[in-house]
């Protein structure tokens, strides 16, 4: 096994339910957690809708996979970024998004919310810093 730890960035740009992209991305993130990598998620454009609180697709006969996002901290996901301009264009506030906690295995401390709203230059920097970008 390689000792090299790579930085994985998952780029999510699709709304949930209308297409299968959001669910597929989540599945790949969970599978990828089996490998020891540094994982970040970035939500922009309609992808920000994936993190909206209080989703309830019981009335449309689909599985509610949104609670899974809150468990991402248990799957080696240390940071989740949301493009601020995408929120603004959709009339959304950070408070509309679910909070995702992360327990640091080294310090035993809990970070209450690893969801961070970022601007475009930060998105550029994130993509620049990543070794691999997975697009959904």
């Amino acid at each position: 096994m390689s000792e090299t730890i790579k930085k994985f960035l998952y780029l999510n740009r699709k709304a949930p339910y209308g297409t299968v992209y959001a669910w597929e991305s989540l599945e790949v993130v969970l599978i990828g957690a089996a490998f020891d990598q540094e994982v970040s998620l970035l939500f922009m454009d309609d992808g920000v809708y994936q993190l909206i609180k209080g989703q309830d697709p019981s009335g449309i006969g689909m599985k509610n996979f949104s609670p899974t996002y809150r468990t991402l901290g248990d799957y080696e996901v240390k940071s989740i970024f949301v493009d601020g301009e995408s929120l603004t264009a959709r009339g959304l506030m950070p408070d509309d998004l679910m909070r995702i906690a992360w327990d640091d295995p080294d310090t035993q401390e809990t970070v209450e919310n690893i969801v961070t709203v970022v601007d475009a230059p930060r998105v550029t920097a994130l993509m620049d810093a990543a070794d691999v970008v997975f697009s959904f």
């Binding site: 297409t19 989703q55 019981s58 009335g59 959709r90």
Partner: protein, 102 residues
């Protein structure tokens, strides 16, 4: 009898709604379904488009699709009505035909 237009795409990703509203006749009904429901929300960049349309056509949102995506009816622009699946059927029956903007 007029036409019932259904739009199932997000207005931020496709031009389905814009094209629909460009040609929908006055008095027509436009039903936002699936990812189309995002167009009905307050405070978005699609508000000018939808607000202008509300003066000419009746706009509806399919409730179960809105609820699935985590939004309550209170988040919708004034003038937009929420219908359930029975309401969808009722609109279809009342219309001469149903035109889908995929």
């Amino acid at each position: 009898m007029s036409i019932l237009h259904t739009v199932n795409k997000s207005p931020f990703e496709r031009n389905s709604l814009a094209s629909c509203l460009k040609v929908a006749a006055p008095g027509a009904a436009v039903l936002l379904i699936e990812d189309g429901v995002y167009a009905g929300l307050r405070g978005t960049s699609a508000v000018p488009l939808v607000t202008a349309a509300l003066a000419r056509v009746k706009v509806y949102v399919l409730g179960p699709d809105l609820k699935a995506r985590g939004f309550a009816a209170e988040r919708l622009l004034p003038g937009i009505d929420v219908v359930d699946y029975a309401g969808f059927v009722e609109l279809a029956v009342q219309s001469a035909k149903v035109q889908a903007w995929l």
